[in-house]
């Protein structure tokens, strides 16, 4: 070796040493690496394990397939996709899922789009009030409305308390009571706020000067609408559609309540059925399908959003949002908004509330009203002997909800901020990119598929990790992973907004890393931290799909408790529990908005 190459090697070694010293000059990188490992385990490993499940012989199937458990096989994929029963296992649920999703989006778009415009760009009466009132469904669990629907329209083909219409002597046909029609309508009502929020936001930001410039050059209203406003609004509209679609795909509660009685399966309920009948292999195939649809939708969305970025710089300074005058249409427009409010908020909630205080459905005599289902004792004819507020099961479930979801939310809020910090600060960009993407990944995986993945990974002991199924830990881990997209996004954007300067100022003043975290970063990010904990908490308590797969009676939470009451056909109590959940979710959201002075809509688009 010549002297030149030796010194070259020394130079390289010194350079490497220098880089290492820089990378580890503060704990950011170390924390980043630990976080990356944690999320690889919480997010990537379960999904890989699920994929593997779909391709290997599951325990209990060895005789049917004729090989050892764990051997590679196409049996499940075959069974789900090509076998004689593939129709009822996969293709029909897939078709149902897609037709429900498209139908729901079509309805919610055609109602939510005009409402968004009315609220953000016109002089409709009571715009401010509607802006809040119409997004209430967004804060409630989706199947609240499914329960309200079945309270009203349930017919005699299912046992338990009658629906109101049936009680009044009108038997609703099955297609009104169950299956595709009600599921589509309920999901549509649920996604209207989505369009009001996302599309309305884009409309609000649209600069009237752009419109004016076109007018000055001689464009008439339709040219302005089709050539200027339309093209600029299209990306955000597309984005809203796709996000609603992705949410629709994983929807579990609504089809469970309204589809199961007539065997109307969606992919999510099919998956639940497979898992509860111990067909984990087929369940894995279904979960994969749900995941694939979610991923495709989100990739399309990413593309659309990237397109729309091109428009972002337009209309920054002097942006004006002018409102059109509705003229003679002002009252009809207001009437339309009121009608939607009544149908999507007032009527369902009122129905649910009344159903919990009436003995016999649809009998409005004073004597028929009772508070027994809430606070009664020694009830003879229903599944619980005491009213719901006096039931120890309810309080156990509430306590479980609080501490399981609370702990998970606290962890994900802190982890989110930490991820945000590392992503924004680490000098090692692959680490930053990996963390950013891995924490966002669960967003593409509907909760029910994710729950299936967790079940597949943690059902048995693996290495040093004991079997977690049946413990609260599995719920917490799954919740944390499921909530990371929101938490990390919140953390990243908070850290981006903060910028480097305040921290660097402290650094120059002589503060080491821990001191900077404690005295500068965390105090400034207090608000972001609160949101980062509170929002996952709200989505966690109203969430159903994770729990329905992963919870056992010992870890019953409010949502699964309510679901069980439905199974017992004790709908008054089920409705009461859902109302309790809705109240917590609603007031929690309001509190979060008050505390942080933010708008729900801002956190949605990201």
């Amino acid at each position: 070796m010549s002297a030149a190459t030796v010194s070259q090697q020394e130079n390289r070694a010194a350079g490497l040493r220098y880089k290492l010293r820089l990378a580890f000059r503060d704990p950011t990188t170390l924390i980043g690496i630990l976080a990356a490992l944690l999320f690889a385990y919480l997010i990537i490993v379960p999904i890989v394990s699920l994929l593997v499940d779909a391709g290997r012989v599951q325990f209990g199937d060895e005789r049917r397939i004729g090989t050892e458990p764990g051997a590679w096989t196409f049996y499940y994929i075959n069974r789900a996709l090509f076998s004689p029963i593939s129709n009822s296992l996969f293709w029909t649920p897939l078709f149902n899922t897609l037709s429900v999703a498209f139908g729901a989006i079509l309805i919610s778009l055609s109602i939510g789009g005009p409402l968004a415009w009315l609220i953000s760009r016109t002089d409709m009466l009571g715009r401010r009030w509607f802006a809040t009132a119409l997004i209430v469904p967004f804060m409630l669990p989706t199947w609240t409305f499914a329960l309200a629907w079945s309270t009203l329209f349930k017919n005699r083909s299912v046992g338990g308390q009658q629906g109101w219409l049936e009680a009044m002597g009108l038997t609703p046909p099955d297609w009104v009571a169950y299956g595709q029609f009600p599921i589509t309508v309920i999901l549509a009502l649920n996604y209207i706020p989505f369009f009001i929020l996302l599309f309305g936001n884009a409309l609000r930001r649209f600069d009237s000067q752009l419109e004016d410039s076109a007018r000055m050059l001689g464009a008439n209203s339709s040219t302005v609408a089709f050539r200027i406003i339309g093209p600029m609004m299209l990306p955000s509209l597309m984005s809203a559609i796709i996000l609603a679609f992705a949410k629709c795909i994983g929807e579990f509660g609504v089809p469970y309540v309204l589809g199961l009685p007539v065997n109307y399966d969606l992919l999510a309920t099919g998956l639940y059925r497979s898992i509860s009948s111990r067909q984990t292999g087929v369940g894995a195939v279904l979960a994969m399908a749900i995941m694939m649809i979610g991923i495709i939708a989100l990739l399309v969305d990413a593309r659309v959003v990237r397109e729309s970025r091109k428009f972002v710089t337009v209309g920054q300074k002097g942006a004006m949002a002018r409102r059109s005058s509705l003229g003679a249409w002002r009252l009809p427009a207001t009437g339309f908004a009121i009608a939607i409010f009544l149908i999507s908020v007032a009527l369902p909630l009122l129905t649910l509330i009344l159903s919990t205080v009436m003995r016999v459905p649809a009998n409005f005599n004073i004597s028929n009203f009772t508070l027994d289902y809430w606070i009664g004792t020694n009830l003879e004819f229903v599944a619980l002997r005491n009213g719901i507020l006096l039931s120890s099961q309810m309080w156990a479930a509430a306590w479980n909800t609080l501490w399981i979801v609370g702990t998970a939310s606290l962890c994900s809020g802190l982890l989110g901020l930490l991820v945000g910090y590392v992503v924004v600060r680490t000098p090692i960009w692959p680490l930053s990119a990996f963390l950013r993407q891995v924490t966002f990944f669960p967003y593409m995986v509907p909760g029910i598929a994710f729950a299936a993945a967790y079940l597949s990974l943690f059902a048995v002991q693996r290495g040093p990790i004991p079997a977690l199924y049946g413990t609260a830990a599995i719920l917490m881990l799954a919740l944390i992973a499921d909530q990371m997209p929101y938490a990390s996004r919140a953390g990243i954007s908070a850290m981006m907004q903060l910028g480097k300067d305040p921290e660097e100022a402290a650094q120059v003043a002589g503060a080491g890393w821990f001191r900077r975290m404690l005295t500068v970063v965390i105090p400034i990010q207090k608000g972001a931290l609160v949101t980062g904990v509170l929002l996952p908490f709200i989505s966690g308590i109203k969430g159903l799909s994770l729990f329905v797969i992963l919870a056992v009676p010992a870890t019953d939470v409010l949502t699964t408790f309510s679901l069980r009451l439905i199974d017992y056909n004790y709908s008054q109590a089920a409705n009461a529990v859902v109302l309790i959940i809705a109240a917590i979710a609603y007031f929690g959201t309001v509190l979060a908005q008050k505390l942080t002075k933010t708008n729900l809509a801002d956190g949605l688009g990201s």
Binding site: N11, A14, G15, R17, Y18, R21, L22, R25, D26, W429, G499, D501, P502, E504, A505, A506, Q507, V508, A509, G510, A511, G512, R515, T519, V520, P523, I524, K526
Partner: protein, 388 residues
């Protein structure tokens, strides 16, 4: 107090070949008020951040006194918090969740200065900067100028040996800026701190600095006193960047380039045949004169016919726009001009006021030579730079 030395300092970002700072050698002496001056994107802020330790080098070395603080070759890197410097950010970067007083005493608390001394020092620096009455307010309740003072107070409170300032005046209005300039100059004299100041504003640099380092595209162009920079620019970039209205440049490399180029070439061929390879000639606006009559022209001056195309008052002085041989020239004067638009006459510049650059334009090669104009051989004016 220490001298800051940068040796062959280089910085590139994200493995790209583009260098934000290239082969920078700079010495900042004890007690100096050094301005890093250049257009945006020239690497001046990067240089400042490398000195502070917030940014690391890609190659080269930085030392403060005898202590090497950053050296890629030996793998040494002292983090910003251990360098004991002060840095005032362009955005001020006040901590929004702390009162003015807590912002100011942050550094002293970190250094565990006893309470009595801490209070005394904070008091003093807040009084000096006139922010003591806002002590219990939060940064968002202060105006830009007040925030700027807090940012300064926060750094001065710990009495750093080196104070780094990153365009701290750029967000202030004109009057406040003037006030703060005076304040900074006073602070420099009072605290005897070494100050490194980044700015793109030439007047700020001229009025404040004891020496100026002009940078362009990551490269150091010239280091010198403000007068050096203005009167003896090392190259065309410096000559053109400093001065407003900008220096008048005549390209003479190709005599056919313009009629004025031909004029200048024949002037130099006639008067200074010993100078070879002239690329361009610069004339500061205030060194130009205008004469109505050919007989009023000073001897030995370069001159040519010109038409007045505009008289622009700037308050106390005037800019006169001249058109000569299809080339526009700017002339400034502090005497009320006795000319009108469209008037014909002659422009002239005395030989000692000419700046001569070689064909490479930017780069300065060759030594000073004295141009011996017939007009005044012993002119005390600036030396003229040219090829020997």
């Amino acid at each position: 107090m220490p001298t800051i030395t940068l040796r062959n300092a280089e910085k590139s970002y994200g493995g790209t070949a583009v260098k934000a700072v290239r082969d920078l050698n700079l010495e900042i002496g004890d007690g100096e008020f050094m301005c890093l001056l250049g257009p945006s994107g020239c690497g001046k802020t990067t240089t400042l951040r490398m000195i502070s330790g917030l940014e690391h080098l890609s190659s080269g070395e930085i030392s403060v006194g005898d202590r090497v603080v950053d050296c890629v070759g030996t793998g040494t890197f002292v983090t910003a918090e251990k360098r004991g410097m002060g840095l005032v950010f362009q955005s001020y970067a006040l901590w929004p969740h702390m009162t003015i007083e807590r912002n100011t005493d942050f550094g002293l608390r970190l250094r565990k200065v006893p309470k009595a001394e801490r209070q005394e020092r904070v008091e003093k620096v807040m009084k000096t900067l006139g922010i003591d009455k806002y002590r219990d307010r939060y940064p968002s309740q202060l105006s830009g100028g007040q925030q700027q003072r807090v940012a300064l107070a926060r750094m001065l409170a710990v009495n750093p040996e080196v104070l780094l300032l990153d365009e701290p005046l750029s967000n202030l209005d004109a009057r406040l800026r003037l006030e703060m300039r005076a304040e900074l100059k006073r602070i420099h004299e009072e605290f005897k701190t070494t100050i490194v100041f980044v700015t793109h504003d030439q007047w700020e640099a001229m009025t404040l600095a004891t020496s100026i380092a002009v940078m362009s595209e990551g490269e150091l162009q010239q280091v010198g006193s403000p007068n050096d920079i203005y009167d003896r620019p090392a190259n065309r970039f410096v000559a053109e960047f400093v001065g407003s209205p900008p220096i008048n440049i005549i390209e003479v490399e190709d005599r056919n380039a313009s009629a004025l180029a031909g004029l200048a070439q024949s002037y130099f061929a006639r008067t200074y045949p010993q100078i070879d390879g002239i690329g361009s000639v610069g004339m500061r606006p205030e060194a130009l004169g205008f004469a109505r009559d050919v007989r009023a022209l000073p001897k030995g001056a370069i001159n040519g016919e010109a038409v007045v195309t505009g008289v622009l008052p700037t308050g106390g002085s005037w800019i006169i726009e001249l058109l000569t041989q299809q080339t526009k020239l700017f002339l400034t004067t502090h005497l009320p001009p006795q000319v009108n638009d469209g008037e014909k006459g002659f422009f002239y510049a005395k030989p000692e006021a000419l700046h001569v650059f070689d064909a490479q334009g930017k780069r300065h090669i060759g030594a000073d030579i004295q141009l011996r104009g017939e007009a005044d051989p012993s002119a005390e004016g600036a030396a003229i730079r040219a090829l020997a």
